[in-house]
């Protein structure tokens, strides 16, 4: 369970030398507020609100990375990880309920959708008589955005993006919420 304060030594145990050097990394508080108190006690209002505020911004950034990836740094993998970390922030602040509020789909569905999108993009050229995974290229001029170049491999990147988001959400579901449900309820201990 989460890290408690150093315990007093039981009398029978070999006495451990405690010094500043050995104990400098003793946590002063619980690592994670979520999971310990799901009923609302000890939740940090500030953290939760901040997480909600930056959440859309991070998602937009991740979309930027996804679309920019073809010509600049980024791509589906990086974009997916950034988007995933947006969910991680929500989770750290508010626990599984927050993530469930943010995305309605179950993580395996997202993973499957991403994989299907990538594979279908790869197979699509067959219907035009091309070899699988051939990419096509479209240029157009849109009113506001100006010249836009779209490469069909972008859809493959979107598949990767979705899959990574799904994997991160799955991580939150299993290692995060899954472990919390397995653990016995912790006794409240005064921190410090």
């Amino acid at each position: 369970m989460s890290e408690g304060p150093p315990r007093s030594q039981p009398s029978g145990e070999k006495k451990r030398r405690t010094s500043l050097w050995e104990e400098w990394d003793t946590p002063q508080e619980h690592w994670l507020l979520v999971g310990s108190h799901r009923d609302g006690r000890e939740r940090s209002l500030l953290l939760e609100v901040a997480a909600r505020i930056i959440f859309p911004t991070v998602l937009v950034l991740s979309l930027y990375l996804l679309f920019a990836g073809h010509n600049r740094s980024g791509g589906g993998f990086s974009g997916g990880l950034v988007a995933g970390q947006a969910f991680v922030v929500r989770y750290l602040a508010g626990g599984p309920m927050e993530v469930r509020a943010a995305v309605g789909l179950r993580p395996p569905v997202i993973i499957g959708a991403g994989l299907s999108l990538a594979v279908l993009t790869g197979l699509a050229p067959i219907f035009w008589g091309e070899a699988p995974l051939t990419s096509a290229y479209v240029s157009m001029t849109l009113p506001v955005l100006g010249d836009v170049h779209v490469v069909s491999s972008l859809f493959l990147d979107m598949g990767v993006y979705l899959l990574i988001v799904g994997v991160v959400c799955d991580l939150l579901r299993t290692l995060g919420a899954g472990i919390e449900e397995q653990s016995p309820r912790p006794r409240r201990r005064p921190s410090g």
Binding site: L32, S73, G74, Q85, I111, S135, V151, T174, G176
Partner: protein, 782 residues
Amino acid sequence: MLLLVTAHLVLAALLPTVSRWLGRWAFAVGAILPAVSLGWALTSLTEVLAGGTVDESVAWAPVLGLTFTLRLDILSLLMIFLVSGVGVLILCYCVYYFKPDAQSNSRTSALLVAFAGAMLGLVLADDLFTLYIFWELTTVCSFLLVGQDGNTKQQRRSSIQALLVTVLGGLSMLLGFVLLGEQAGTYRISEIVASPPAAGALTSTALVLILLGAFTKSAQVPFHTWLPGAMVAPTPVSAYLHAASMVKAGVYLVARLSPAFSDHTPWWPLIATLGIWTMLIGGYRALFERDLKTLLAYGTVSQLGFLMVLMGAGSHTVAMAGATMLIAHGLFKSTLFLVVGIIDHQAGTRNIDELSGIRRRFPVLTVIGAIGALSMAGIPPLFGFLGKEAAFEGFLESGTTGDLVVLVGLVLGSALTAAYSFRFLWGAFGTKPGVEDSSAPKPSLGLMVPAAVPAALTLLLGVVASLFNALATTYAEPYPAGDHPYYLALWHGFSLPLLLSAVVVASGVGLHLARDRVVRLGGWLPDFLQAQPGYERTVAGLDTVSYAVTGRFQAGSLPTYLAIILLTFVLVPGSAVLTGGSMPEELRLWDSAVQVPVAILVLTAAIAVTMAKRRMTAVILTGVVGYGIGAFFVLDGGPDLALAQFLVETLTLVAFVFVLRRLPSRFTQVESTRSPRWPKVAVSVAAGALVAVSALVFSGARQAPPEASEGFVEAAPEGAHANNVVNAILVDFRAFDTVGEISVLAVAATGVASLILATRRARRPSAAEETEGPRKSREVRK
């Protein structure tokens, strides 16, 4: 041809749905395709008899030289008569045999049709790999059909034994195919047979491996015990798979390759020895069986040995005998199995000791069964007699010592065959003193007709012997015929084969009359001749070995796993790096001064990790190392790499935080025993040093500017319309790899999620268990 085979498999996929509407009539729907195949084969009959073939080829991976090649010739045609012809009969029989509302009907019908398709593909395949694929498909169908719903221990054991034995043979056969194909330079069977590879150690090894496959599939000694065990399957399944068609696959393979290899050293001696041994053991065991079906199964084992010898011998007359016996056995054995099925269905037992007076009750059935059994015993004028006469004649012709020894074996085996044929007749239809007459309702016409058809053919082909002559002669064409080619006929004059046949029948009758004394032997065999204990010991031995290996390596201790992984890393790639690698000639301390503080940070963190007492501290310090490496990527101009590194590092840290909540906060090892620390230190230092050394060696291994990278850089703007080469590689040039990698990621994520969530689910009683309740008893009548 390909269309027919595919149609079988498609129909098999549809049958479960069809059977929901039609119930057991789904079997009749399934019979349509085998009937079509049979009709198609018959229309090609004249062409094939003229020596022609029908070829069809689809290249499905031309780059790798893999094609799907099918070819219809005389041997395929004979096998199709068995596969599709008997298939039609069996599927029609099934309609009346299984209970109308049995749940397993949809499953059984689909599997039977799938099997018919796989078997059709097997006998038509002209490519070793095509043949192998269909070969294993039939094995899988057999496993599922023998196992049924796996409710009884008997079903599970028998199906697993059948699977293990035949798959063992199948795998060794695949190995043999590869060796043979590489030796011959082609995987086309017709080409290999036309110009066989030169004799040599490799070719001999290939042939032995292939024969192992044929022997296991066709239940030759010492692999034969799976076949009597497989009799737990419903009778129509046994009649089709384990008498008429699937077990003939090994015989078929031998017949297919014999024109090329019958004069190679290991081929004929191996086949002759095991074939005759099988014939004798099978016949001997059949004399003691009290269960009619198992009696027939041992009879099948015996006959398969006989067929093996006939198909492998490689002389004209014997080959004619082989073709004749192949069809004759298919006909009389399916007759007999279907008759046993009817008796079992009506009287509720197939035990010899419980049946009595069937002859008086079912006179028509008795005639049908008698035709089958007498053909098996080799009584004229039935079809089986023709085959046996031709076989005796064939081995008398050459007069060499080897052939005469084989002949003696065949005569002995045939005598046993005659004896158990009579025993079958007596056991199934006879009236036994002290046993109450079985009361059984009349069987329906739907059950009788499928059994009567092969019996009628047995009689017809025997009486009009010339009918089959053309087929047998065409089959034997690859083997040089003498000046006076043999022909099938009931009467060749007073000759030695006729005398031998008389001896066989007489001793068969004698053995049967002395049955009380014979049975007292109790089927005794010396221990070393018993195959079943051998199989059981082998399986138990494998269990022990795997238990020992798993126990050593899956110790359940994380340090042990880590040690195994690291030691493997140090020993295998490590020795390659140390022996084959060379240090780069030029080593610079740094490229730019900014690298120095980052390096100091990374080194400090790395050293501090080893001294950390708390897990969380160690994880965070590892994170510092990771971020430091990311900083190097930035400094060296790899923003994509750096971005990915930072993001992955962050996510790893989060995952660690989640997991470490469950673990003690301190590394416990430090406080407990101190003795086992040094091995750990040694392993980790060695692994760490190797990583450092190989990083240096790898950086020195690159001599010239890599051409592939330059090519990618050049092609990216035009070929992939991307300025970011890294991304162009990921989603375009190497997109196939990317798809593969994300598939692996998806599988891994699902696996991890299942592992973690499984323990949680295990606590609650699952909804399925609660609603399902005790499973219903088996519906299929056995």
